[in-house]
């Protein structure tokens, strides 16, 4: 046994310098975590206020409790006792009455089809452990407006990127001032594009993004739709702004079918 032990230690001896940049990893993860829970929300002053009062959530089970596989968090969180007061969300847009499970399934199907179209040849899974099919899950934070989040891992050969897709309500976003109200870093950018029919696209860049083989920054696109739906997609720059925009504008990604 000692010989096996020695052989294993010898085999792993003298590793080459690591490609892991801890500072980058921490910065990227913090940015991603912030974006994951607050990207859609930081696009509006109201959401920023709510975001400052981040608290555990109590979400009413309004539909089926789908799951992404053994060990995966539930798609629709169940009610749990809490002593934490919910933030006052009076006046904030609320989700339609569609059951959570139904909405999550519908949005998942729409995103799945969109990814196949926009990223042909890529394989998409969810980015949770254990990984499984792409899926939307109800966001379990009061810091963000009610909505659904898909944490997607897209791969093609050795190349991989994380794509975050959030579908929520507008949460009082004013397109005229949205970029000024964002919590932008010095290297972040934000632009507003008003489309025909009342659709407003906010696009921007973030300098670093964890979870990408390319080690590049990311693009984010927020699609404010006339029906009240807000779709935000964040992905690596390697996926191109055009593709990320096409995913964000997927017609089926709506809260009001």
């Amino acid at each position: 046994m000692e010989e096996l032990r020695n052989a294993l230690h010898a085999a792993a001896a003298d590793p080459p310098p690591t490609g892991i940049d801890l500072d980058e990893l921490i910065a990227g993860t913090r940015r991603r975590t912030r974006l994951r829970y607050a990207l859609g929300t930081t696009v509006g002053a109201l959401a920023m206020v709510v975001g400052a009062v981040a608290a555990p959530t109590v979400l009413a089970p309004s539909g089926g409790l789908g799951a992404g596989g053994p060990g995966a968090p539930p798609v629709c969180p169940q009610v749990t006792p809490t002593t934490t007061a919910r933030p006052d969300r009076t006046g904030e847009p609320t989700l339609p009455d569609e059951p959570c499970g139904t909405a999550a399934g519908r949005l998942t199907a729409a995103l799945d089809a969109s990814l196949r179209t926009v990223l042909p040849g890529w394989t998409a899974t969810n980015d949770e452990h254990p990984s499984g099919p792409v899926r939307f899950a109800r966001q379990a934070v009061d810091a963000a407006p009610d909505g659904y989040l898909a944490d997607v891992d897209v791969r093609r050969g050795a190349e991989f990127h994380i794509v975050l897709v959030q579908v929520s309500t507008h949460a009082g976003i004013d397109p005229a001032t949205a970029c000024r109200q964002q919590t932008l870093g010095p290297a972040d950018t934000c632009q507003v594009h008003v489309e025909a029919g009342g659709e407003v696209l906010l696009t921007g860049t973030v300098p670093t993004l964890a979870g990408s083989s390319a080690g590049l920054g990311g693009y984010w696109v927020t699609d404010l739709r006339p029906d009240g739906t807000c779709v935000t997609v964040l992905g690596s720059q390697a996926l191109t702004l055009d593709r990320i925009t096409r995913i964000a504008r997927t017609p089926g990604l709506t809260l009001f079918p």
Binding site: A7, A11, T33, R155
Partner: protein, 169 residues
């Protein structure tokens, strides 16, 4: 992510060990770095909870193992257990051929059996700790260890590997 300094201190002290473990599991340093990165991101996401754990190392190892097993389940996984010359000098007592032979032998084992051997004989975990890390029973660990060692012996006999890695039970 409230205690980034604590996280940084922990990771700085464990990075090397995690990389070596990942390397023995997957067989190449680039993938090892990918696996460790994945594990470190997950560790950071839950650091406020993880840092309160009694045995953070066990949790980190479990996350790394899951990342690797998860990676292996993916259809596009990159298996690179090939005769690839390391870009660093070999350590004294084992030449490059010996080290490659070890990796080759491990590569031919089923994933969980390989993990059992790495955890027990590289990470020096007990049967109980290995069972906990892999989420299986101690009986499974014992049987996987026996089968893994047996398979290594069989392959050593077949390929006539160097004497230095002729392991005895």
């Amino acid at each position: 992510m409230t205690d980034v300094a604590g996280y940084r201190e922990y990771v700085t002290g464990r990075m090397d060990r995690l990389r070596r473990t990942a390397y023995l599991l997957c067989g190449d340093w680039h993938t090892a770095d990918d696996l460790v990165s994945t594990a470190l991101v997950k560790l950071l996401r839950h650091w406020s909870r993880v840092s309160a754990m009694e045995n953070i190392d066990a949790y980190a190892r479990r996350v790394l193992l899951r990342a690797w097993l998860d990676e292996r389940r993916r259809p596009w996984r990159r298996e690179q257990f090939r005769a690839q010359v390391p870009d660093r000098a070999a350590s004294p007592g084992y030449d490059v051929a010996d080290r490659l032979a070890v990796l080759e032998l491990l590569a031919h084992l089923p994933a969980r059996r390989r993990a059992v051997l790495v955890l027990r004989f590289f990470c020096d975990l007990s049967v109980e700790e290995t069972a906990e890390a892999l989420g299986c029973t101690t009986g499974t660990v014992k049987s996987q260890t026996a089968r893994g060692l047996s398979a290594l012996r069989t392959r050593l006999g077949a390929v006539g590997s160097p004497e230095e890695i002729t392991w005895k039970n």
